[in-house]
Symmetry: C3
Subunit: 158 residues, 3 copies
């Protein structure tokens, strides 16, 4: 019986292009390990060239565009996890995600948008360990006009 691929192996098989791990744009750390958990600061959709995906969903971006931005936030979080921990195999599972969408007051598909990040995490850690609790909300504005901001907590591997 072949063994399951590990999170790092699944990540490598996807040949994803990651942005650089983000530098803090304020007085905080991108990631902090506390006991068996790694906490991630609010991350934005950083592109490989170092710029941010900006815009208000419902005005500058449609729902699909917002979902692509959330996937880009997921890639940015992977870049931070790799820089902090060295390998995605150091992470056992996702615990919690708070997804904030920069959107108009009549846009109501925040869960669809944040799925862009959640589906990426589920691809890498699988349908049980890759799915945690989540809140998805619409906010009035985000730093530098970024389209989506996500904070998260992951559990480290034993």
């Amino acid at each position: 019986m072949p063994s399951q691929p590990s999170p790092q192996q699944r990540f490598e098989a996807l040949s994803l292009q990651l942005p650089p791990a983000p530098k803090p744009i304020g007085v905080y750390k991108p990631a902090l390990v506390v006991d068996r958990f790694v906490h991630l600061s609010g991350h934005g959709p950083l592109l490989p060239d170092g710029t941010l995906l900006r815009g208000c969903v419902g005005r500058d971006l449609d729902a699909e565009g917002g979902k692509r931005a959330a996937r880009q936030v997921g890639l940015t979080m992977l870049a931070t996890l790799l820089e902090s921990l060295g390998s995605l195999d150091r992470v056992r599972r996702v615990i919690r995600v708070l997804g904030m969408v920069n959107c108009t007051s009549d846009f109501v598909k925040q869960p669809f948008v944040i799925n862009g990040a959640s589906e990426l995490i589920a691809e890498i850690w699988g349908p049980d360990h890759g799915i945690g609790v989540r809140s998805a909300v619409g906010v009035a504005s985000l730093p530098d006009g970024m389209a989506v901001e996500i904070e998260a907590v992951f559990e480290l591997a034993g």
Copy 2:
């Protein structure tokens, strides 16, 4: 000396009508147990017929209507706890609540609104274990136009 009623006994004495435990509307789990804690995803005000209480507080709903929506979120969270754990006696106390109110930018009574959920939790777990830390904020929009969204962490009983 008579013993105190348990949380499950207090819940049953209130004869509350719960909505069905919500199914995820995205890639997340409604509840996740981690160590001695159960984390709940952002919950909305689900009605017994399975529809959501919608509207913007300050425009479609007044403060009292918003508070009723928050109480309905509390009932929805109880439905998730019961489905996940089998009995409210499995929960020792509430730790943390994040209450997000879909409201106009001039509405400022978010604490009054979120009390709708907090008072329900305090009725069931009592004036010490039923009251935790909390943030209450106004947001531009919520999934499917729901009036209130609340995420929470509870501690499990020893």
Copy 3:
């Protein structure tokens, strides 16, 4: 070799004027100790006379005014920590900060604003233990029209 000043000593050397520790304006506790952590409810910018710093950043306050409000939130959190724990030496480090700015939809300098609180925490707990993970977002409205609301988790000293 002289020993490092402790957080309480650094705090006292700064001769800061603290507001009174805030009373809850709803059904919650300002602080809750759980295991080795102290969780703080969403705090506002309380002034020494007991009133709140109000206003919408980008309309009533500029970025510098918002940053001063966030510093005042930091002082209010210190007042709660002192009332709950007796001394800032009971706190080892900051873990997590969620900073919410009451702002217009075109205001995008939330990290600059929330630095007002983060720099204060870093002054007291130092450049490693005084800096944790953070999210900074703009929200449509906050309780009583306060300019900034911040919730946080700190780790207690061994």
